[in-house]
């Protein structure tokens, strides 16, 4: 692991996503001795090592052997444990796809997969370590629930909910330095229920993961131009909150989806499925990687490149609404 990528901020209020997840998992582990944590030589990078400190006997490091890790998780679950497995998203969902599908999903084992560094959040590590296909793949496995928490607080809530819910669950988070969306862990969270982050009536942006904050930024920019933008935090991609989608279709008639993922098969496709099945007319614009592979870059630059940062979403809103925003063109320094 390159040094700079594990720089952390000590202040608890600003714990990075993965650190919060490590903390929460440890707390859950203290309350429930059925929880065991597994990693594939990424304890440090995925912060699940925090659990190891307190419960070394219930922590298993498989080394660089993710497929065996999934198999072991299946075996441990069969004996009554609740395995929480963590590795990078690309390995969890693609390298191990068959093991996740057959050993965990098909046999309906109570395994929770925490896939870190999802989407393009691993920036500098390049395409081999990005994962812009995991939502699509995991969605296609029956029995699997798929969650993409928006920030560290949501990750904490989602993890707790996941441990309390029977069955396989796949949760994808970032690399740990994403800014917070919520102010604390105190908010209503339920697997399968979208959270309305911003009220609006002109157009709806449905986002998941780190693009939710981008969507909120875009809504605030649009508000200054007199546009009323609804923002839905669709943290659970499967089962998707069809009611929330249909309500948005009926009340705003225009939908933009945003995800740090290929537009093929992920959140956008899931929303499209709901819209198509409803038979109602609606404008749908899917933001994300346009069926392309990602490139190496700083994560924020990649968000910008793929049009899923605040500006990108704001521009999409502009285009869908066919309005022009007044740009701020004052470039003189204030002295």
């Amino acid at each position: 692991m390159a040094k700079g990528l594990t720089w952390t901020i000590d202040d608890a209020d600003h714990m990075t996503q993965a650190e919060i997840y490590g903390e929460v998992l440890t707390q859950l582990g203290a309350q429930n001795e059925r929880i065991v944590a597994l990693t594939a030589d990424l304890a440090g990078s995925t912060k699940i090592g925090r659990f190891q400190k307190d419960f070394p006997g219930r922590f298993v490091n498989l080394g660089v052997a993710e497929m065996n890790m999934m198999g072991m998780a299946s075996g441990l679950a069969s004996v009554g444990f609740i395995p929480v497995v963590s590795t990078f998203a690309v390995f969890a969902s693609l390298r191990c796809a068959e093991f996740v599908r057959t050993d965990i999903c098909y046999q309906n084992r109570n395994v929770k997969i925490i896939a870190t560094h999802s989407g393009t959040s691993f920036g500098q590590a390049g395409t081999t370590h990005h994962c812009t296909e995991d939502l699509a793949v995991m969605r296609s496995f029956a029995n699997m629930k798929v969650i993409a928490p928006a920030d560290s607080y949501e990750t904490a809530r989602a993890l707790t909910a996941a441990v309390e819910t029977e069955g396989p669950i796949y949760m994808r988070i970032g690399r740990s330095f994403e800014p917070p969306l919520h102010k604390s862990v105190d908010f209503d969270f339920e697997i399968g229920k979208a959270i309305q982050i911003h009220e609006g009536t002109d157009i709806t942006v449905i986002a998941c993961g780190r693009t939710v904050l981008s969507a909120l930024e875009a809504a605030e920019i649009a508000k200054q131009q007199g546009l009323s933008v609804r923002v839905l935090d669709m943290h659970t991609v499967k089962p998707i909150d069809a009611d929330a989608v249909l309500q948005a279709v009926g009340e705003t008639r225009r939908i933009i989806t945003a995800e740090d993922h290929n537009v093929v098969g992920g959140l956008g496709s899931a929303v499209a499925e709901v819209i198509a099945a409803s038979g109602k007319g609606c404008v749908l614009r899917k933001l994300g990687l346009q069926d392309e592979f990602s490139i190496v870059g700083y994560p924020e630059d990649l968000l910008h490149r793929y049009g899923i940062d605040g500006d990108g979403i704001a521009e999409a809103i502009q285009q869908v609404m066919k309005t022009d925003f007044e740009a701020d063109e004052d470039w003189e320094d204030e002295v």
């Binding site: 080394g63 497929m67 072991m72 004996v79 395995p83 093991f99």
Partner: protein
């Protein structure tokens, strides 16, 4: 403990019965992985009739021994034993391979009582077995985990990941078998993707590795019991077997990895088995 003569005879007779069942089911359902099911039968019989702590009336019994048929295509051979031991009525096997039947080429844990994992896609059994063995130890249980692997299956990486982990975690409550019938689908294992020296490989991964004749009950039982003496290492029993064992026209033929039988072939097969 050495095998008594009458116990050995009972086991051999039971194995012969099971092999005949395999032939009959293969005839009824149109085709099965008969070669490998025949080669594995002595190991499976030894386990189910002498060693595995099970309660057929209570398949979910928490403290049962676990058996994983990692070479899941041996399902018909396993199914025959499970029925005979009493997990479900033998008549259900008549629907083998039929639509809606709980029985297909590969036994499904969710549908068939007595099956501990849905295998078939090779390379999964040892990993899952690791999880079970590790879990047993965490829970302080004494039940054991047995995993039966195919030799062709050992070409794939995941099994070696699992082997390395089992050695590393010192899973002494885990016993693996390799149904070493020296054949995979396209031919001899040593021609397609050589495995030898196989014993050395397992030992290198931290296992207690034993080589036996997979059709000799004295050797099978001695090996199974030797594993019980281990405290620091898992045990693998590399059992040299004959694919298609007991049916003269199938023995050592790669082509009988999978096949169907018409009435004539069935009768010929049964006759061959009766001569054993």
């Amino acid at each position: 403990m050495a095998l008594q003569a009458d116990e050995r005879q009972q086991l051999e007779r039971k194995a012969n019965e099971i092999r005949k069942e395999i032939v009959k089911i293969t005839y009824t359902c149109g085709g099965t992985h008969i070669g490998g099911s025949l080669s594995q039968t002595d190991i499976v019989v030894a386990l189910y009739y002498k060693y595995l702590k099970l309660d057929p009336k209570n398949p979910e019994w928490k403290d049962r021994d676990r058996f994983l048929l990692s070479k899941g295509h041996g399902g018909v051979g396993h199914g025959a034993v499970l029925a005979d031991v009493g997990f479900f009525p033998r008549s259900e096997l008549d629907d083998f391979n039929k639509t809606g039947s709980p029985f297909g080429m590969h036994l499904d844990r969710l549908k068939v009582k007595g099956v501990d994992a849905s295998t078939g896609s090779l390379g999964h059994g040892l990993g899952i077995g690791n999880g079970m063995a590790y879990g047993a130890r965490l829970l302080g249980k004494t039940w054991r985990t047995y995993v039966l692997l195919g030799d062709g299956e050992l070409n794939g990486g995941p099994t070696w990941e699992a082997a390395m982990a089992a050695g590393h975690f010192k899973l002494a409550n885990l016993t693996a078998f390799v149904d070493r019938n020296h054949l995979c689908i396209d031919g001899a294992t040593e021609d397609i993707m050589a495995l030898e020296p196989l014993r050395g490989k397992w030992e290198a991964f931290g296992w207690n590795a034993l080589e036996i004749d997979g059709h000799d009950y004295d050797q099978i039982c001695e090996a199974v019991e030797a594993a019980y003496q281990e405290t620091e290492r898992p045990t693998v029993i590399i059992a040299s077997t004959i694919k298609g064992k007991g049916v003269d026209f199938m023995e050592n033929q790669a082509s009988w990895h999978y096949g169907g039988l018409d009435e004539a072939m069935r009768d010929q097969a049964l006759e061959s088995l009766s001569k054993e």
